[in-house]
Structure formats: C-alpha cells, structure tokens
C-alpha cells in the first residue's frame, strides 16, 4: 500500500530526477587562464564558480585552490554584492603581451555581467578589481546569464575601438518570454561610472534596419528562446545559437550541471558593430520572419555552440559547425596574407 502511494506521489509531483536520469551533465571547468601573484611566476589556473556565489582559482597542475573571491570573510578577497552563482559563465582576455590574462568577465544567474580587472603581480587579497559591468536583471527575476560571454575587440574604419561582450539569457526559474541576446560595449581602458542597464541599449527590431548603433550596445529580443552557449565572433559577425523552447531547462538539473538532452536549436548572425542581421539568414526561407533565427535541421543539446571545426579545414578555410551541422557562410580563413614588402639589396 505504501509503495502504491509513493508511486502515485512521484507521478503527481514535479520530476526531481537525478542529474543522470534527467539528461544533465556536469560541466567541467573549461576556462583556463594565466595569472601571476606578487612574488610568484606566472602559472596556469582553472576558474571555477562557487556555490552559492563567488569564484575560485585552482592550480592547473596540482588542482589546489590558490585563490577565492566572494562575499564573506572566508575568501582570499572579499567581493561585495555578489549573491548569485556564476555557473560556468566565464571569459578571460589578454589586453597586452605580458603572457598573463588581464580581465575576466562572468555572467551570473540573476542577470548581471561582471568584469574583473586582474592586477598581475599584486598580492592575492588585492589582485582583482571587481566592476559590475551591466545589471540586466529582469523584473521579477528568473532570467539569467548561463552561457559564457563572447568577448571580441572591435575596430571601426573611423578609428573607434572597444570590447564587445555578447551574451544571451535563459530561464533560471519559471519560463519567461522576454529573453534577450545582448551585445554590450566595454572600454579597453578605464570603466564606466555606473553599470549598464537595458534602457541604455538599443533594441533591434528586425527586419527593420538598425540605426547607426548605440554607443553602449544593443540587444535582440528572443521571445521565449534561450541562450545556453557561448557565441563566436568571426570577421566582425557574431554567431550564436538559441534554444527554441520556452521550457525551464535548468529545473531538472542540479546546480553545476547543464541539460544535455536534445532540443530544437536555431542560429542567428549579427554584425558586431550595429546588430544588422546577416543578409544570408534574412533570405533563408527557413528563417523565422520575426527575428530571422535559422532553425537547424537536427535537435541537439542546449549548450551546443557555434565552433570552428579544425578537423574539417579545407583549402585554408576552417568551417563553423553547430554540433554535427556545418554552418554555411561561416568560416575562418587561415591562409596567410601579404602585408608589406621590401627589397634589401640596392644594385
């Protein structure tokens, strides 16, 4: 009798299956970067988020923790205001040629984008300067930054230069239908006095052409489509995948895991400077007319990203793939190009 009651209860209650049963995978830390503390030589470290909030660095060789940051005094460096998990949303950047990373960007599950300036050679308790780059929390919550930000340096013919931060949102609790793909501008040196908010950004309204481009950034409304994978910027164009499902995909996964079951996925390509949607996608008959997202033929895990398939390189071009699908019109040209020439003998 008790067994029957238990079976009925399990059928009625929301599924709280184990990670393995629900198709969730532990996401192995993939961000490695090089850092240098005072009195030490540079070393490679692994970046991991902490629960409920904060982050830590592990020595890449010994896997020992060498630094941590977060609220509370238990950390090497205290970071006030960080009250949401960073998950696996990390991206590190070299701004110079000293061989160590200079900045780290991270999105948290409440919708904020953090920037960490890394002071190479500083003592561990003062190694990181924390800046809240953008506060993109949705009213009522439940919309977070799960994917790693895609960081790209942008230069215009007019001589302007900045860092693009491209990242999309996903459900962290009840399904929402106001997800976005944000492209924010950050300064190469210095920082803004106040965090960016959505009101500072220009909303793209395809198929209408974008305006001249907001100096702070722009965003593409996605409706209930969600972004779990890091975008890829090639030749000044941002390529990103979106899950065409409004389900709360994280609900079945324990913290630190992401869903790995197959879902419908689409691809969108934006120009990095002003968000103009890729003409090729615009003319694709399979594109969603409202926002020009191109559905892929096969379903795949939500965290499937646009990547470079180096094994498929041909004639000096490395194609882009999403899972097993080749992405037409997307490739990296690895052929060397001549830049300047001179002759040294004079006879």
């Amino acid at each position: 009798m008790m067994r029957v009651i238990l079976v009925v209860l399990c059928a009625l209650l929301p599924l709280q299956a184990s990670a393995a049963d629900a198709g969730c995978s532990s996401v192995a830390p993939t961000l490695r970067m090089r850092v240098r503390f005072a009195g030490e030589s540079a070393r490679e470290v692994i970046v991991e988020s902490l629960l409920p909030s904060g982050l830590r660095l592990l020595d890449a060789t010994s896997r020992e923790q060498i630094w941590s940051g977060g609220p509370g005094t238990a950390h090497t460096q205290q970071i006030a205001g960080m009250d949401s998990s960073l998950g696996t949303s990390f991206a590190a950047v070299h701004l110079d040629a000293d061989g160590v990373h200079d900045r780290l960007y991270a999105g948290d599950r409440s919708g904020r984008l953090w920037r960490f300036d890394l002071h190479s050679g500083a003592r561990p308790s003062a190694w990181m300067k924390v800046i809240l780059l953008a506060d993109l929390r949705a009213p009522g919550g439940g919309r977070g930054l799960i994917a790693s930000p895609d960081v790209a340096r942008i230069e215009t013919p007019a001589g302007e230069s900045w860092l693009n931060l491209a990242i999309g949102t996903a459900n962290t609790s009840a399904p929402r239908n106001d997800h976005r793909f944000y492209v924010l501008r950050d300064l190469l040196s210095g920082h803004r006095a106040t965090p960016l908010i959505e009101a500072d950004l220009e909303m793209l309204s395809p198929p209408a052409a974008p305006t001249q481009g907001n100096m702070q950034g722009f965003f593409l409304p996605l409706g209930n489509a969600q972004v779990f994978a890091q975008a890829l910027t090639l030749n000044g164009r941002i390529h990103f995948t979106a899950v065409e499902s409004g389900r709360n995909l994280l609900a079945a996964c324990a913290p630190g895991t992401l869903p790995d079951f197959a879902v419908p996925v689409s691809v969108t390509v934006l120009r990095a400077t002003d968000g103009e949607l890729e003409a090729e996608v615009a003319h694709d008959t399979h594109a969603n007319a409202a926002n020009l997202r191109r559905p892929l033929a096969s379903q795949m895990p939500a965290s499937t990203a646009v990547t470079l398939a180096t094994a498929e390189a041909s004639n000096g071009r490395v194609p882009c793939t999403v899972g097993s699908e080749l992405l037409a019109g997307c490739s990296l040209d690895t052929r060397p190009g001549r830049v300047w020439w001179r002759r040294e003998d004079a006879d």
């Binding site: 490695r32 991206a91 590190a92 950047v93 070299h94 701004l95 040629a97 895609d150 960081v151 790209a152 340096r153 942008i154 230069e155 230069s161 860092l163 975008a231 890829l232 910027t233 090639l234 030749n235 000044g236 990095a272 470079l308 180096t310 390189a313 000096g316 490395v318 990296l332 040209d333 690895t334 052929r335 060397p336 190009g337 001549r338 830049v339 300047w340 020439w341 001179r342 002759r343 040294e344 003998d345 006879d347």
Partner: protein, 142 residues
C-alpha cells in the same frame, strides 16, 4: 714618261686615312660598348634569377604556413638546376595576439611574420626580399 720625283700633293689620301682612323675608333668604341652591354645584361639576368628565387622562397614559406606547418628557421631550398642556385629563408614572428579585431578573444590567434628570403644565383649574385605576412588561426583547446 714618269717624272723622276713623284710628289703626292693631293688631299684624298689624308682624308681617306682620317676616315679610316675615325671608323676604326668608332668600331673599337662600339665593340667596347657591346661587351659592356652584354656584361650588364648578363648581370641583370643573374639578378633577376636570384630575385625570382628569393620570391619563390617567400611563396614556399607562405604555403607552409597555409598548410599549418611551422616554417623551419632558417631553411635552405634548391632554387634552380644550376650549382649554387639556392634560396635561404628565415621566418620570424614579429607579433602575436589573441585579441584580433573582429574575432572572439582567446579563441582566434593573429600572428604577424617577417619572411626574409635571399636568392643565391650563379657567379655570386644575391637578392634579398623581406615580406611581411599575417595569419589567423584557431587557438588550440587543451
């Protein structure tokens, strides 16, 4: 009846001899110039061959880079069929960044090269060309 004392009092012979002398001088000058021109042409041809060899050295290194092969530094290649015809190429990386404009940071590497190629021809002719090149490659993931 022959006169006992024959005296040549005309002007034709000196003129003719003068003309012959001038013609001889012109001929000598022409021969000299022809020899110099031939020498110059030969030298120019040898330099052109050395230049072509140097350019081919650059092309070889660009092909190596395109195939993903790191060029050996320095390397000596056979340039032609004659003895002594070769090209020596040295390739140096002048800059490398993981923050190439228009590309995802830390995922695309931008490398600038300086390719110094010296073509060696016969008779010691040498021509050196220096080529700047630029290449984008995916960063290898650990």
């Amino acid at each position: 009846m022959m006169r006992a004392n024959c005296r040549f009092t005309g002007f034709v012979l000196p003129v003719v001899m003068g003309i012959i002398l001038i013609a001889a001088l012109i001929a000598v000058q022409a021969t000299t110039e022809l020899g110099s021109a031939t020498l110059l042409a030969t030298q120019r041809q040898l330099h052109q061959q050395a230049f072509a060899a140097a350019e081919n050295g650059v092309v070889t290194v660009l092909e190596q880079l395109a195939s993903g092969t790191a060029p050996a530094a320095p390397q000596t290649l056979q340039a032609g069929t004659g003895p002594g015809e070769s090209v020596t190429v040295a390739t140096n990386i002048t800059s490398r960044t993981a923050l190439a404009a228009g590309f995802s940071a830390d995922r695309i590497l931008e490398t600038h090269y300086e390719i110094r190629s010296t073509g060696h021809g016969v008779r010691g002719s040498e021509v050196t060309v220096v080529q700047g090149a630029h290449q984008l490659t995916p960063v290898a993931t650990p």
